[in-house]
């Protein structure tokens, strides 16, 4: 189990973590039958954008506490999102009773390949925005 602050982009389905859903956009239909929905999720250490896929879009609501098993944090059409992916899964394990922060947002960080690492590791280069630009904090 890792905390969201420990996320860094990688092409691996090995992320196990727990977070609360803060906000959710409208579900969009992609090409074919596929549906996706972007959400803001967070834990006590950081926030991140999460991409729901197919029935996940309707299964979860803001305030739900979710557990991600074997998820992946990577670029999907140039935006950096956390998602279950084909090999992972996401389940509702509770509601409401989880503290969170909205900054930093791990999707709003510019990452660059590690200068001398052969395993496609990324490091933080700069903060694009302290908070989500898609889901602004509640006034």
């Amino acid at each position: 189990m890792i905390s969201l602050k420990e996320l860094s982009p990688a092409a691996q389905n090995n992320i196990n973590t727990k977070f609360i859903v803060l906000d959710k956009m409208k579900t969009v239909a992609m090409e074919g039958q596929n549906k996706t929905c972007l959400a803001l999720v967070a834990d006590e250490t950081a926030a991140v954008h999460f991409q729901f896929w197919q029935d996940e879009c309707d299964a979860f609501e803001p305030g739900d506490i979710l557990q991600l098993t074997n998820g992946i944090f990577s670029y999907v059409r140039k935006s950096l999102v956390l998602r279950a992916g084909k090999r992972g899964s996401v389940q509702k394990i509770g509601e409401y009773t989880m503290a969170f922060v909205e900054t930093p947002n791990m999707s709003e960080i510019r990452w660059v390949p590690h200068p001398n690492d052969s395993h496609n590791k990324y490091v933080q280069e700069s903060v694009i925005s302290s908070h989500s630009r898609i889901f602004p904090p509640m006034p």
Binding site: D55, A59, P62, G63, Q91, A99
Partner: protein, 505 residues
Amino acid sequence: MASKLIGTAPREAENPYELSIRQAFDALESKLRPPFALTVPNPQEYMQLNRAILYGVLCEPHFAKVHIKHLHAIVTDGYALFVSLLVKVVKELYVKLFDSVKNQLIWVTKEMINVSAVGFDGLLVSLLRQIVGGDFSDGNLWLCFELVSLFLGKWDCLLEEESLVLSSALYTFLRLLADHCRLLTNSKLDVLKCLEIDFCVKMLREQFQLCLKIGRDLIRLLQDLVHVPVFRAIWKDLVLNPSEFKTPGFLDISQLYHLRTSSRYFLTRITPEMETQLRFLLTHVKLGSQKRYQAWFAKKFLFGPERETLIVDIIRFICCGHHPSNEIIQSDIIPRWAVIGWLLKSCQKNHVETNAKLALFYDWLFFDESVDNIMNIEPAMLLMVCSIPRYIDMTHTLLDFLFLLVDNYDVDRKDVISRGVKSAFATLVHKGVVQSLDVLVSCKTLSPYLKERLRKIQVLEVGVPNELHLLHISQHSMETFNLPSPTPCSETEATSKNWGIRIAN
């Protein structure tokens, strides 16, 4: 095998408690049919057998009687374990239970009353807590109906075995009647309403000494029902003929004013889920980060035509049922007054707002340092003081309301109310909740009238808190404000006078 107990949404994790009783049933299913084993189970086996029987009773209605017989045969602890497992089902799973399981739950509860199971009163209270105020859904009205029928049906037994639980039921049904008598009637609701009235009237007329256990909030609830003829009659007797209740020692309604209501009663009107969320908000969420939590709470519990009446129950719970530690008070966690401020701002209907403010100030009116808890009156004071910089309207509305209560809440016992409020202010200053009333008295944006009234209280504060002295000042202040002196009044006047606050609003 899929659960026969609860419905699980897609992509929802299994509930660990449900899993534990389902697995016990799966493992022991073959042993749950007669002939039953004659061996005496060890503690671990006893636990598993209780779990398995519980699952069987709830999920197999056609075998329920067999399962119960089995339980009667093996029980060695007065049903304490079985009842505690049932309470946990109600607390953790009730909203997800299938309808057939809910039927079984009521049935097995009656069985537990029949055998005087250890802890059945707690089971009844946990069921009462699942009735949601302001909720007119079929499921909620069904539970009201089942429980009020149960309390009437098992009346003698409950009275003999666990009479205190009847007072919790009275608190619940008086509160629900305020909902059920306000709405336009339909035949279904009428049947329920009649049963609820039967139960409450029986309690008040036949078991008044039990009703007294509720304390002052009994009056608050009854006030919401004075428009119903049977309750108006009871109200009149309370005010004018206390001897009607045949309770030795009960001579005047003000005796009830002086009995602080236990938080046990406020908890009956908050579901465990609401309680969990409110307590989380008040112990984990930092001031400034509460917006999303408030929005989620409101969406889940307060949206809906009559749902906002819950705000009144929640305010009573926060004032009297949730007292934060010093550690929390000194931290950056959202304080109770801020949550109450939000709740007051969420009131859309006038009658709800009035009742919510009354709930906030209720313990002020009868405050007596020797029996009352300063933590019950602290939120109102801090809300008034902390609202000054940015929300002076809130300070204004609250103070104005408080003095309106002093003047009108009970015109015939104005000295009592006056003394209570003065004592509340004095204690808040004395205990250091606020340094002095200067913060209000010297506030530029507060109306001169309110400041003048506060000054009168401040004068008193300096004086000796001696009862005679207090009485003297209270008479003096009544003259100062040119208020009508209490006069002997007819029955109807008594009612309308005690009802003054509502008329004034």
